[in-house]
Symmetry: C2
Subunit: 456 residues, 2 copies
């Protein structure tokens, strides 16, 4: 709360048609302005009052725009963007075993991860995403790409019980992940997350170590969980337990735990996760595309669970588009619960911002437009024909707008996207790198040359 | 087939990175060009051959683009675009009875339909849609708007058994619809369709008349059918029959019949519809948003049914975006059938083009890029960061691209969209009209002013 008579100075004031701060829930602040000083939001005030009280270095007239918190992508494998559309319309195990894993075995390297993550950051920033939670090999290179692009990132300390180019065994994964954290922990735009791949690829012993480390380092744990029915069946036949029961027994589930996907949960499991304060990363496009199923998000929300939204990797989506995921989450939950009132637009916006921030332990810093928080902001131009007329900006953001309507993006007070153009990243250089990788990967996979038919 | 040595003259030659003609199925013609003469496609040839053989008035270099048939929106209520986002997240009957019908009763007029349809045409053209099948009041005004925008349209001769501002009773609806057809039947860009609203709002007697007219005029019939479980329950308790059985008994089902929505079909009903050669207009966003359910599209396709894609109206979508519907249809069908191989990208493209054209009886004129067909074309720029890398253009069109990547659109050989800009429609005037209607509708509905919260 600012005193009504004090004057304010700010680096930038954004005058918006409306600010949707996400906190408090449901608020739409018409004709409001946001002041940014350094990396922080320093005031949110009615436009007239801001003009009266605030001296700003720069004033931005976004009078046809909605200003919202930057979107937070709660689950992705950013570097996999280099495999976007490499293989589609395939059953999960064919997709993984015949396409994704062989391609990764041939190509994944530190450079692959840097180039792929920079491509992902470019796409995400232009689509209004200001923070992403990554799970992939060579997280130090993902961190470098994030820093170079200006986006905020949560880097996974990844573990999988088989050797890759990145690491040889569980201890090697942890050693490298911890070294990565030591190297990058002073970077204000980076934080960290324990990222064991999945119950079917991580041993009890490794999970125990991960739990200890997460408590020591005070960072969350995220893992793929109950993504497919097969995963659950295999666990039952191997250990006599559903994967979630196994993790519960190991003590992993709690406020610092993020269940990624959680497509197949029984009502008792939903109650348990909600009761323990765990979060879910809902990735609807990927769950549909791999035919995994439809997560019971309506029931999760009714149980009071914290549910955020993720894109998953571009190999199974094939976009890193949180606007598309918000819309799909809102639409799917209605049909799945047979109730059109499920997951209204303000809930979708909250899932894609504050809920995801909370899951990552970042809710004090980001996820809403509030004085004192980091200035991670996204402006959406509502003046487009596709968004006309506009009775309710929140509805339009979820159901009608796309990431193409994002005009400006700030991360930590820094303007990174202006009228759709990236200011910090050399987009053309990023695109050139993508094409280089495409040639290399297509040559080794003998794809990329579609059937050529003669003119009939 | 062109003779290999003849020379060709053309008004325009489009040199594309690839042409995806839709027919034959699955073809991707890399480095091909399309020649347009008058309103027709006059050649589809490898780029080098076209350069050697063809003298063109204009040659367009679209060397980073995929060229596809213009998309066909198989079901919409175009004028309802003026009610986009007016009321969301509501149960169907609340939505209809408390919001949509009262608003229509207050506002729908000839001018409303003209302005709303022109807005819809503007949105659709910019999104690559070159033909739409409309069901709404004052179809002559929808036709005028379509003609003014340059888009191709199929106008519904609408019938509903209650009075509206447009017509007083069943006979009045038919009289007005037939007069509309007489007035507009010489327009090459317009055709017609019988459009009884739904089994629960149309009597047996009216359906019989509609069948007779459809046979006399040689035009298809489309009606909302099995959209919700309630519709089926009510029919069973009223007539002892499911709606589809009632229409079958009346003799409506056949190659000229389009079942709109068809969310709830039993396997025997799918076999019957497929066996009779009927089509389905699949509207996945609307079906999810109104919590109607998920249509069994995988089973329909397996049964050999002709399934096209529609957006429904912008009041229940809230976009007229066939790209979004293609993606959603492809994703949903995989999860619903628990098989990621269901509805691959080339099928989605076909549903949104040739299948929809076939349902409307227009498959000889439009729906594919073939010599002799009308030059209804859509170019999608694949050079964007969001579409990098690109291993498979068809995959990208369905899973990664959005309508924002549409650069050029032709209808009947006429270039209507160039680098995303509309050439024939005054976009600003259309937007101004939308805002006028918004003010009028919001004032009478007391919406459009969201809760205003003070700064905390």
């Amino acid at each position: 709360m600012q005193e009504a008579n004090t004057s304010i100075s700010a680096d930038t004031v954004i005058e918006a048609r409306c600010v949707i701060p996400v906190e408090p829930y449901g608020a739409v602040l018409n004709d409001h302005s946001v002041a940014i000083t350094g990396d922080r939001i320093t005031a949110v005030l009615p436009r007239a009052e801001m003009r009266r009280r605030c001296k700003a270095g720069r004033t931005l007239d976004l009078s046809t725009h909605a200003l919202i918190p930057g979107l937070v992508n709660l689950h992705t494998h950013a570097a996999m963007t280099l495999m976007r559309g490499l293989s589609d319309d395939l059953r999960l195990m064919d997709w993984l075993e015949k396409h994704i894993w062989p391609t990764e075995a041939r190509h994944v390297s530190a450079q692959f991860v840097y180039d792929g993550t920079l491509l992902a950051c470019t796409e995400m920033l232009r689509g209004g995403v200001t923070c992403f939670n990554d799970m992939y090999f060579y997280p130090e290179m993902a961190g470098r790409a994030a820093l170079d692009s200006g986006i905020r990132a949560v880097l996974g300390i990844v573990l999988i019980e088989f050797p890759t180019a990145y690491a040889s065994d569980a201890q090697d994964y942890l050693r490298k992940g911890l070294a990565m954290r030591d190297e990058l922990k002073s970077e204000p735009m980076l934080s960290f997350c324990m990222a064991p791949h999945a119950p079917y690829t991580v041993s009890d012993r490794s999970f125990e170590q991960i739990l200890t480390l997460s408590e020591q380092l005070q960072i969350p744990i995220n893992t793929h969980l109950h993504e497919t029915r097969d995963e659950i069946r295999q666990s039952e036949s191997k250990s006599g337990m559903r994967p979630i029961a196994r993790l519960e027994k190991l003590g992993l589930l709690g406020p610092g735990f993020i269940a990624v996907h959680a497509v197949h949960l029984e009502p008792a499991e939903i109650s348990m996760l909600a009761g323990l304060g765990a979060s879910v990363a809902h990735c609807p496009s990927s769950n549909l595309k791999l035919a995994s199923g439809i997560a019971p998000v309506g029931a999760m929300l009714s149980a009071g669970m914290n549910v955020g939204i993720g894109t998953d990797g571009a190999a199974s989506n094939n976009r890193l588009d949180v606007f598309a995921e918000m819309r799909l989450a809102a639409l799917l939950a209605k049909a799945a619960s047979e109730d059109a009132e499920t997951l209204p637009s303000h809930v979708a916006l909250r899932m894609a911002t504050l809920n995801a921030a909370k899951a990552l332990g970042l809710e004090q810093k980001i996820g809403s437009v509030e004085t004192g928080k980091c200035a991670d902001l996204c402006a959406v131009n509502l003046a487009s024909i596709e968004l006309s007329p506009c009775y309710d900006p929140a509805s339009h953001l979820v159901y009608a707008a796309g990431r193409e309507h994002v005009s400006h993006v700030w991360v930590g007070g820094k303007l990174l996207v202006e009228e759709g153009r990236l200011l910090q990243v050399d987009e053309k250089a990023v695109a050139r790198k993508a094409i280089e990788w495409q040639s290399r990967i297509a040559a080794s996979n003998q794809v990329g040359h579609q059937s050529d038919h003669d003119q009939r």
